[in-house]
């Protein structure tokens, strides 16, 4: 069994359109961590039709892929998934267990952590192996970075949002072992996902948008918000929001970015009429170009972006929309 032991394990997730990008990103990161430990990387994937997922996980750096293939595993079922993963982790005792901060991961991770009686760090933005072989888990807070460790319990568990780590280059020549795992024939029935339903959202989905325009309280009123929405539209961008904008009733809760909202990683982020509070900013991960528009030159957002425009967004945004329309013809 020794050769089937890996010290870094990723719980991968099979979505409707294949493996979730964050799962591959985590396997890429796990590869780096395992190389430091001189150890192997394993991925666990549960679902159906997993051949391609397993290939990609190996290509991203997994040495072992534990694969549970059953129609009972689609859609995600909390109890069954927890049972299978806990059993596997008890057998393999990894040092590190990583899960994507997806809706599934955010529920499954604490269920697994509590059963394994270990710690779990939420939504890390970096993972560093220190000289003692302990995983330093970094989270942003209070204008700085907090390091959290789980020194005694194993595995050291962390969730990480999509886009924190880069997409690994998939090496189709890499080889890895696929290990089928036993799936119970029946569902535990205390809690059962009956179906998952996709909702058509208007405009571009925030998770996949390469450009995001996010608005805050500075919009002032519905009209002000309408201009921000127009800016998003003309840029073919996803429209995001801060808590105050949602609370004001200008936009739906689904558009909220940040703590207890969405985690996004666009190429370009434009924050309009928002002050740059941590609760919002933690949700924007790895944006390449960041722009802020706010009438208060002292707003903290100007310390967190590449370009700042000190103007009332209610004046600037409609003019910018017009200029963009002219440019775009």
């Amino acid at each position: 069994m020794e050769e089937k032991r890996a010290s870094v394990v990723v719980i991968a997730e099979q979505g409707e359109d294949g493996i979730q990008p964050v799962s591959l990103q985590l396997v890429g990161k796990a590869r780096q961590l395992a190389d430091k430990l001189g150890s192997k990387v394993a991925a666990v994937v549960l679902g159906q039709k997993l051949t391609k997922a397993a290939e990609e996980l190996v290509g991203a750096g997994a040495d072992l892929v534990f694969q549970g293939d059953s129609d009972l595993l689609v859609p995600y079922q909390a109890e069954l998934y927890t049972e299978i993963i806990v059993k596997l982790m008890v057998e393999h005792c990894p040092d590190i267990l990583l899960i994507g901060s997806t809706f599934m991961g955010r529920e499954l991770a604490p269920l697994v952590a509590a059963r394994l009686e270990t710690g779990l760090t939420a939504h890390c933005i970096d993972l560093v192996m220190n000289s003692e072989g302990i995983l330093e888990q970094k989270i942003p807070a209070y204008g700085g970075m907090i390091t959290i460790v789980c020194p005694k319990k194993r595995p050291q568990m962390a969730t990480v949002a999509n886009g924190v780590f880069p997409n690994p280059v998939l090496d189709s020549a890499r080889s890895g072992e696929i290990v089928p795992i036993h799936v119970p024939k029946e569902l535990p029935l205390r809690v059962q996902t009956l179906e998952t339903v996709k909702e058509r959202s208007e405009g571009i989905s925030l998770e996949s948008a390469s450009v995001i325009v996010a608005g805050g309280a500075g919009a002032g009123d519905h009209d002000g918000w309408h201009h921000i929405a127009e800016l998003a539209e003309v840029l073919n961008a996803g429209l995001g929001a801060t808590r105050p904008a949602v609370d004001a009733g200008w936009t739906e809760l689904e558009t909220m970015i940040g703590q207890s909202g969405k985690m996004v990683s666009p190429e370009v982020y434009i924050g309009v009429g928002l002050s740059g509070e941590l609760q919002h900013m933690v949700g924007i991960i790895g944006a390449k170009v960041m722009i802020a528009i706010n009438n208060d030159a002292r707003a903290p957002v100007f310390e967190q972006v590449d370009y700042g425009v000190v103007e009332d967004c209610r004046i600037l945004v409609p003019a910018l929309v017009q200029a963009l329309r002219n440019t775009l013809g």
Partner: protein, 265 residues
């Protein structure tokens, strides 16, 4: 009649807490007396319980772990219509991470007696972790559904709920007793009424410490927490900000240029 427990957290008032910055020299947070308020997602958890009570009748117990001033939050919940308030307070509870917090809350729920539903907010505004609800469920050996946005059916011991999920929602059936963590979409919390405040004034708040809960010292607070904070680093922004100069038109011109350089237009 259902027995409902609502877990609430007293958190530092956000607008003040937001201004806290890690000191670059001491690498710690400045000590400030920030007023405690109810974690806003927990008010939706309480409202879920109150709505059930108004419709079908229920006994609602509020459970809150925190320093003595957190008792005010418990009283607020009583004024809103909860029947019983329990404050878990003990210096030994300090420094608890999500795991130790959930363990302590679970022990208190057990001690409080039979329970059908435990409602929690889906996350706390200060720590941003979402782990306490599911971890309580694990310690109580109950099922859990997180991020619930709608209770579709709540008759008998089999409930159907809708919970946020990627690109939409999932419909979940669960058997009570169970833990449910809620999102803001679930309901609109009501505000305090004067008569509620008056009624709550005479209600007793039960206080339990570690000994009352009969938990070993190594299971609570910092000692009972698998995770520890080892470092707080002040972070200089990695970005060099360019504040756009000139007239409104010049700024707009520059913005269009920046967006064009970034390949957006």
């Amino acid at each position: 009649m259902l027995n409902i427990v609502v877990c609430v957290k007293a958190v530092p008032e956000q607008s003040i807490a937001n201004k806290l910055k890690i000191d670059p020299v001491t690498k710690s947070l400045p000590r400030l007396d920030i007023p405690l308020v109810m974690n806003s997602l927990d008010s939706h958890a309480l409202e879920a319980a109150l709505q059930f009570k108004r419709k079908s009748g229920a006994h609602i117990t509020i459970l809150c772990m925190g320093p003595p001033p957190a008792g005010n939050i418990v009283r607020e919940c009583l004024a809103l219509g909860a029947d019983k308030g329990i404050l878990l307070t003990d210096p030994a509870f300090a420094g608890a991470d999500a795991f130790a917090t959930a363990y302590t809350l679970a022990k208190a729920i057990e001690k409080n007696g039979p329970v059908d539903v435990v409602f929690c907010g889906m996350a706390s505004s200060d720590g941003a972790t979402e782990w306490v609800g599911p971890e309580i469920a694990t310690f109580l050996n109950m099922p859990v559904v997180t991020m619930v946005r709608e209770i579709v059916e709540d008759r008998g011991d089999e409930w159907t709920v809708k919970a946020d999920y990627q690109y939409g929602y999932r419909k979940v059936r669960l058997k009570l007793p169970a833990v449910i963590t809620v999102t803001r979409n679930l309901n609109q919390p009501k505000s305090l009424s004067f008569s509620g405040i008056l009624k709550a004034r005479s209600k007793e708040i039960t206080k339990w410490d570690r000994e009352k809960l009969d938990i070993p010292a190594e299971r609570v607070g910092l000692k009972g927490s698998p995770t520890h904070v080892t470092e707080m680093a002040h972070l200089e922004s990695r970005r060099e900000v360019e504040i756009l100069e000139g007239s409104l038109q010049e700024k707009i011109k520059r913005l269009v240029q920046i967006l064009s350089d970034a390949g957006v237009v």
